[in-house]
Symmetry: C2
Subunit: 415 residues, 2 copies
């Protein structure tokens, strides 16, 4: 094992060896006993220098292997995950009235979402464990990324998903040869059934809150953003929040970079939930316990009524002196158009919720416009075309006649 020292429970602090099969802390249980991967930073620091990276021609998450919990010469998932582009969003910055804005399009991962980063780690660990079947419950993206990464190396996958998952995501799964179990119920029901099945049949577990290695994959989004911006981290980094793993993983990436000296300050994290399903936001706001909620938002990838990793999400917000905010579905659809029009990026609803949240936080005066901002678009809009159409409207329909065209375009002020 590379530079990993051990796994550590975020509740009780107990330490465990970093075996590929590790899940949660036996003492604290599967809900609260989430494990952190602890690295020997002094060793990482020697390997992962700015100079070494400038020479490194691997442009994928494996670029950061010294900071990942994988065997140096072990097997790897075969898809090219990561090194998605980070754009300077000048026109979007102007429209939002901020000085500097960067957008990272993680919808350009192989199965079109940020979740590929976690699944590539999951598949790699499954190979290390000698597993032949991997499984997870997912609202969609974790599943399709798992199925795609598993197919790339010949592993079997069993996927449990809530019945509301959009058709595009289901098509991906089936195409990748996964066994797809659509559970009549919500995400919670699918998650519970997957846990029973995984422990019953001994499959490799890719549920993100249970498997301590997956957030380590997710953190590569921050490692990349920092490197792509010349190690100058924005004042604020914005993520949509569902289960809590992504923002937790992203924060972990910045902390790692700070610990090994590659960045000299940490960003503040803005977590955005959909108003129709915001249990982590409400726990943060009310400083109280997490209460289950219904899943009433079109942003299906962050519609998680019983989030499994609120601890890591809240740690990211609190440790970074960050903020949380909620946005309506209308604001999300409007952000889709805004992002498409100003940057040529088509994000899925959950994927653009960060843009909607940034806009709202600026409008509410919670953020200073002269600061710099980084927003990660976590999934591709092609995954959920129905909502894309809802946001975008319909095309002009005309016969092939230039006179008709002229009239229509005139009415719209185009000619």
């Amino acid at each position: 094992m590379n530079n990993v020292s051990f796994l550590k429970c975020i509740k009780c602090g107990r330490e465990y060896p970093a075996t590929p099969e590790a899940t949660t802390c036996p003492a604290c249980g599967p809900v609260e006993g989430i494990l952190d991967v602890v690295y020997d930073y002094s060793q990482v620091k020697r390997e992962l220098t700015r100079e070494a990276l400038a020479q490194n021609q691997v442009y994928s998450i494996w670029r950061y292997s010294p900071l990942l919990p994988i065997l140096p010469q072990g097997p790897r998932s075969a898809l090219r995950v990561g090194w998605t582009p980070t754009y300077r969003g000048q026109r979007l910055a102007r429209e939002l009235g901020v000085r500097e804005l960067f957008i990272k399009d993680d919808g350009l991962n192989p199965t079109a979402s940020l979740k590929d980063r976690a699944s590539a780690l999951g598949v790699t660990k499954a190979l290390e464990a000698g597993a032949t079947t991997v499984a997870c419950a997912s609202t969609g993206n974790a599943a399709s990324s798992l199925a795609g990464n598993a197919a790339s190396v010949g592993l079997n996958t069993v996927i449990f998903l809530p019945e509301r998952a959009p058709a595009g995501k289901v098509a991906q799964l089936l195409m990748f040869g996964a066994t797809v179990v659509s559970v009549q119920g919500n995400y919670q029901d699918a998650f519970r059934l997957s846990s029973q099945a995984i422990s019953g049949w001994g499959w490799y577990n890719r549920n993100a809150a249970i498997n301590p290695y997956l957030v380590e994959g997710k953190k590569t989004v921050s490692l990349e953003m920092a490197e792509q911006l010349g190690w100058k981290v924005p004042d604020w980094v914005v993520f949509s929040v569902g289960d809590g793993c992504t923002i937790g993983g992203a924060w972990r990436g910045f902390v790692d970079l700070y610990e090994i000296g590659l960045i000299d300050r940490l960003p503040r994290m803005l977590g955005v939930q959909a108003a129709g399903c915001a249990p982590i936001y409400r726990a943060w706001k009310g400083k109280g316990p997490l209460l289950p909620e219904e899943e009433k938002t079109l942003a299906d990838s962050i519609a998680v009524g019983v989030p499994r990793n609120s601890q890591k999400a809240l740690r990211a917000i609190n440790d970074s002196q960050g903020l949380m905010i909620t946005v309506s579905d209308e604001e999300i659809l409007s952000a889709m158009r805004l992002l498409g029009r100003t940057l040529g990026i088509f994000g899925e609803p959950a994927g653009v919720a960060g843009v909607a949240g940034l806009k709202r936080a600026l409008e509410e005066g919670l953020l200073e416009p002269e600061q710099s901002f980084g927003v990660v678009i976590t999934g591709n809009g092609l995954k959920d075309v129905a909502n894309g159409i809802k946001a975008a409207g319909e095309p002009l329909q005309i016969p092939p006649d230039i006179q008709v065209l002229r009239e229509v375009l005139k009415k719209r002020g185009i000619v």
Copy 2:
């Protein structure tokens, strides 16, 4: 202008200056008078060496600027186009019974198809020309790539598309802020109306057969494949064929590399059309003139009954001592599953037609299994989920009950 000497008509050989607004040869007309971009290879050779590329940290089509018809310090489309992954497809090679097979996933371009390569060039040339509006007719991918690339730099777009274009592609267009004109009719009708409008209102023309610069963008797919394979080109390179521009551009890329000495042999090209719409195949097979055909295939991106660039496609096949073949829609759907299951890549029907064609050509004994093959997946399956579902089937639907799950999985032999 970089290293471009002039434009040359492929029919009469007349030469023209390489202005951004250039279209077709006035002497030979817009159908036959297609222009080639002619480079000063002796100059390109000095700039584009293996050593220079090994040092070059630009991982996009602009990596190959010395071989592109763009101003060295001019404006650029802002999306990160190109440098898509080329995978070694070992399990797919085994299933097809060939020695060596490489798959390049061009669905990972910013708007999810190879067409981004052409549109990035088109938008760059439109900026050079000082245009404010760009337009094209398209079955979908050329349009969405144009709209996305144009949005990235603030250009207006007007898109003409046939009414059958799939919803995912239409949603992308609208999201990118394009004016979308759905023409009641086929691709031919949309193309004709776009030509009238473009000349009437003086917009910048991104119709691929008319605009001589677009295939130059497309050729970057070959430049990348060659570099990613260590300058060892496969014996055969396979493309699906619709309008003819893509395979024509791809061949041009290999010829360029050969001329400047970066590769020491040329591949043979296999062009694949859908059996339900194969006018270029039939012209090649019968050595006769091109006859219009109906557009009867689910592979909408290559359903072009009156192809506008059959000349460059046929030149690619003939000059490379290549072949053409047709495949049924069933073979295309089957290739989608095969590719997903063995590589974790979800391609759209036209995008995987190359895989289907390779399989058929091997079955018919037209190719030698001990040779090496490269296939380019030209578009992402998420663009056309309806056909994805058609190919993939439906998920298992069960209540959240482990006993029911056990029975269902037992029946399928999974547990």
